[in-house]
Symmetry: C2
């Protein structure tokens, strides 16, 4: 019998949760809550959320910022805009009656796309989450690429050797500093000398401002350059874009660029379609996958 799974997606400002089934279908209304400001409050909030579903499922998947280890119970790295100490939450023991697994949010999104979305059934595929930063989830031969400790899929490969843009990671010129919303902002700044938000750039783009158009074109070229390198490394079926900035990615141009220059074989480029709740779906399905492996 197929049992429901609780999927939870912890973001910097919101926590989403809902029951899904083993096919990734959302079964209950997706609940949205504010992410509390302290670690203790977050921990208590998670306990409270999980408790609500105790009679309906024994399996929980949680999507979170940060790299997650290979047993899916521990965060290995820093976690962006979540409070200090968050990574030390004992996720496994938030509820003693439930089997709880965590996964990096970009990995969860990639797994959701692979199971129900834009990369469905594509055993060698990549999902890039374009937002304030850039997240990556990579499927190799039908499994999430986790690496030796779980930290794989970081989109921090250099786009220049000339130390042009400091990345949030402390190194220079990572893909994240070019293909993210911040990357668009820095690109516009390089063209105009003016520092405005990526939101404002998009507004100017919509008003057909020449420099905003130039910045978007350049930003798409940067995205394509990274996608080309990834296709040469992974020989993918498809690379899909998700996240708040993905709507501005010029899919047709990127696909043409990658396939013009690739030394691997041509790939599809497309937009994600698992939707805003791909974290909830993916986290639930990763938890389900883990229990299958343990069986």
């Amino acid at each position: 019998m197929k049992k429901p799974i609780l999927g939870i997606d912890i973001g910097g400002t919101k926590i989403f949760h809902a029951l899904i089934n083993e096919e990734g279908k959302i079964l209950t209304e997706v609940k949205k809550e504010e992410t509390p400001k302290t670690v203790d409050e977050i921990e208590n909030k998670l306990k409270e959320i999980i408790k609500q579903y105790e009679t309906e499922t024994k399996l929980v998947g949680i999507a979170t910022a940060g790299a997650v280890n290979n047993s899916n119970d521990k965060i290995l790295s820093s976690t962006g805009n979540l409070p200090k100490g968050y990574r030390d939450i004992d996720f496994k023991n938030l509820n003693e009656n439930m089997d709880i697994f965590i996964e990096n949010d970009a990995n969860a999104a990639a797994w959701a796309e692979y199971k129900v979305g834009a990369t469905k059934g594509c055993k060698n595929s990549i999902v890039l989450t374009l937002g304030t930063g850039v997240g990556g989830g990579i499927i190799v031969n039908g499994s999430l690429l986790k690496g030796k400790s779980g930290a794989a899929g970081e989109m921090h490969f250099k786009m220049s050797t000339d130390k042009k843009r400091l990345c949030t990671c402390g190194a220079y010129d990572c893909y994240e500093a070019y293909a993210s919303g911040r990357g668009l902002k820095l690109t516009y700044e390089e063209i105009t000398g003016e520092t405005i938000s990526s939101y404002e750039i998009i507004q100017r783009y919509d008003k057909k401002e020449e420099n905003a158009i130039k910045a978007l074109v350049k930003w798409n070229e940067y995205i394509a350059i990274g996608a080309l390198g990834l296709n040469n490394i992974f020989d993918t079926d498809v690379i899909a874009f998700t996240g708040s900035m993905a709507q501005f990615a010029d899919i047709e141009y990127i696909e043409e660029y990658v396939n013009k220059y690739t030394v691997a074989t041509p790939t599809k480029i497309n937009k994600a379609k698992a939707g805003n709740y791909s974290g909830v779906i993916g986290a639930g399905l990763v938890a389900f996958e883990k229990t299958k492996q343990l069986d």
Copy 2:
């Protein structure tokens, strides 16, 4: 009972062959032959080589230039300095009594290192072959990363977005154009304006010529930059260097650089140790692996 396997390594100038066992041990003297100049002659030479071993084994692994498909019987891409038409050789049917598998030479080298060499037992590891070009073989979770069609592991990700160095692949600024022998040559050229062979640069380096030292330092920085990106993508146990230029890689510096900046977890960097015959060993062991999968 463990049966011997014939390993063959086809290079641009030489063909090596020997029997190995299932542990990657070379059992017979490694024979060396000139690579013939025409496709027909190469095909006949291979038939002749394989025939010699007919009474001793039924299993053959061949390391070759070019990307090789996932059933290990067809070359997918161009093959460097081998004659046109070489890629269309019907390797599978070179001998009707033998089970023949081919694999890309950089992949074969990586597999040899994983089984008997510098990355032994490291389930997430990369072997970079630094020569005239740069080859890559990537082990993910204990298997060779092949991608959707077998062309994965190409080290053509960009080091610049400014179209500085044309790569042999037709695109600009691939890792290959920086970390290869040609990369060293171009680096020396950028520093001095003088175009000399990488061999000559090494000679000048040995004589402590300042610009040659500068070029080698920069070349190692380029190698480290690529290794950093790869570790962030794959979270490797180890990245090892092989090929004719690997002896000039500053392992200690590269490891320090990668682990200073990585956002994944620290990796080991080292030099390959399966030796000059890693192609022979790796090809034989890939063939053995394929028969295990088919059992």
